[in-house]
Amino acid sequence: MPEAVALSIDQVTKKFGGLVAVDKMSFQLKEHEVLGLIGPNGSGKTTMLNLVSGMLRLTSGRIELLGKNITGRSASGINRRGLSRTFQLVRMLPSMTVAENVAAGGVFGFRRYWNEELERRVNYMLSHVGLGDKAMMPAATLTYIDQKRVELARALMSDPKVLLLDEWLAGLNPTEMKIGINLVSGLRFEGRTIVVVEHHMGAIRSLCDRCIAMNSGAKIAEGKPSDVLSDPEVIRAYLGEDDA
């Protein structure tokens, strides 16, 4: 039986004045699928994620989450319908502890917890991402990889149907990168539905079922990661006309 469509993007366009940041993008994400979104800097990947998560309003087009139209919905409304995300630049709640940072994702979202249930869920998520012993630490004092873990745990707290990871592996050193890839691989094996925006091609190859390449706001290639990454147009987009 074919998997149901979790996320459907139809002719989505975003203009900032005269600049077309996303140009008639269309794609679908099936349940339990991990989709990679790649492209050079400024190609519109993060803008695409911001449109899906409700951080930005579409200029035109339609987005459906689990068959329901979420076009023009607020970020909070979309989150409550089952979509969570991490941010390109990690965003901690600096005056809160690690446990409170993680708890923030599970009180108002798709699934909601409170009191003992919340405590149990936070403890579970913290140990899941390897932060079990740091629950009471101020979040602002954590290392970069640990802050990334907190953000991931926060996004997973409400057990979302779709997870958007915006350059979650960026800025990690090689050792941290291995830890990070293992963590995201773990999510894949749990059967989560994920959109991964990433520059690390090794991670795209090992994590994604399918991959979409963007350039200048438009889709230039779609398919298996190995096919997309060897596509001449994708290579040209990354390296430029002369070097390709």
């Binding site: 951080m55 909070s76 941010f87 965003r91 709640l93 005056s95 923030a104 108002f108």
Partner: protein, 312 residues
């Protein structure tokens, strides 16, 4: 209930009981000072309910307070005083709702300027209405409500504010406010309807400020816009809350008591130097005690705990 909450409750009950006895001991200067302290305690604490966790600095307190006063000034011949306090609270909540819907998508300095401008606009509007339609520039509030009753009413309202604050801090609403204050985008992407939460809390805060204005109205006998909508009131409330520490429910009162005592002394002895004191107080908050006396106390208590644990 946790142990520290029980201690807090017992200390609060003791404090309120002690404070309630003041009119039985002194009905002169001390009671008058008590009314001022109780008034600013209610205003600063209710201001901090919203502005403390969200960091949205509102300078609209005078607008709510003044409307509460005018509700009593206009209705005192027609309705009973408790009903007027209720009406004032509703007016405050409605006005805060409108301001919230219009401005809470703004943040930072834009919100501050808007709230200050709005309070001034309402003051000018009331002045214009009174001078063009009324016979005088103010209203008389002649009642048999004395300072003793005003004091007890303010004390009751203060207890109500602390109860609401305690409940909010324990609730999902309080948690949502803290998340909003840390990072509004994270809050939105965690499912929090940020605009609704902020408007709701702003309405609570505005409603309490208006009720305070209504309770205090009989104290002044004659109210006029320059007095009721004084921008100085908005600034004083902010500075007292910040000096005390707006991140804690019990923080503002730590600023209200010393500030009111010093302010009272300055206005009596050096009436021309009040602005200077306000300036010094702002500098103190910005440069020395960003988290107020409450933050300072917590810092030293933390050090003390470390020293105590170290020597244990």
């Amino acid at each position: 209930m946790k142990r520290w909450e029980l201690y807090g409750l017992l200390i609060s009950i003791f404090g309120f009981t002690l404070a309630a006895l003041l009119p039985l001991v002194n009905t002169g200067y001390a009671l008058s000072l008590g009314v001022t302290i109780a008034m600013y305690t209610v205003l600063s604490t209710s201001w901090a309910l919203f502005s403390g966790p969200t960091h949205y600095i509102s300078l609209a307190t005078a607008a709510f307070f003044g409307l509460g006063m005018y509700a009593v000034g206009i209705g005192i011949e027609l309705l009973s005083f408790p009903v007027l306090i209720g009406i004032a609270a509703i007016i405050g909540a409605v006005l805060a709702g409108f301001i919230g819907l219009a401005t809470l998508r703004l943040s930072g300095v834009y919100f501050v300027i808007f709230t200050l401008g709005l309070a001034e606009l309402i003051r000018q509007l009331v002045t214009w209405v009174q001078t063009t339609m009324g016979a005088s520039s103010g209203l008389y509030v002649i009642t048999d409500i004395n300072e003793k009753i005003i004091y007890w009413q303010l004390l009751g309202l203060a207890a109500f504010v602390y109860l609401i604050g305690w409940w909010i801090n324990r609730s999902r609403l309080g948690f949502a406010l803290r998340i909003i204050g840390n990072d509004e985008d994270v809050a939105k992407h965690s499912g929090i309807p940020t605009a609704t939460v902020k408007v709701l809390l702003f309405m609570v805060s505005g409603s309490i400020a208006a009720a305070t204005g209504a309770i205090v109205a009989p104290r002044w006998t004659y109210i006029e816009p320059t007095l009721a909508f004084s921008p100085m009131l908005s600034f004083l409330v902010v500075i007292m809350a910040l000096i005390g520490g707006s991140h804690r429910l019990w923080g503002p009162i730590l600023g209200v008591i010393p500030f009111t005592l010093v302010w009272d002394l300055i206005t009596a002895k050096f009436p021309n130097q009040t602005a200077l004191m306000l300036g010094i107080a702002f500098l103190l908050v910005v440069y020395a005690i960003q988290r107020g006396f409450a933050g300072l106390g917590e810092k030293y208590w933390g050090k003390f705990k470390f020293w105590r644990d170290f020597n244990a």
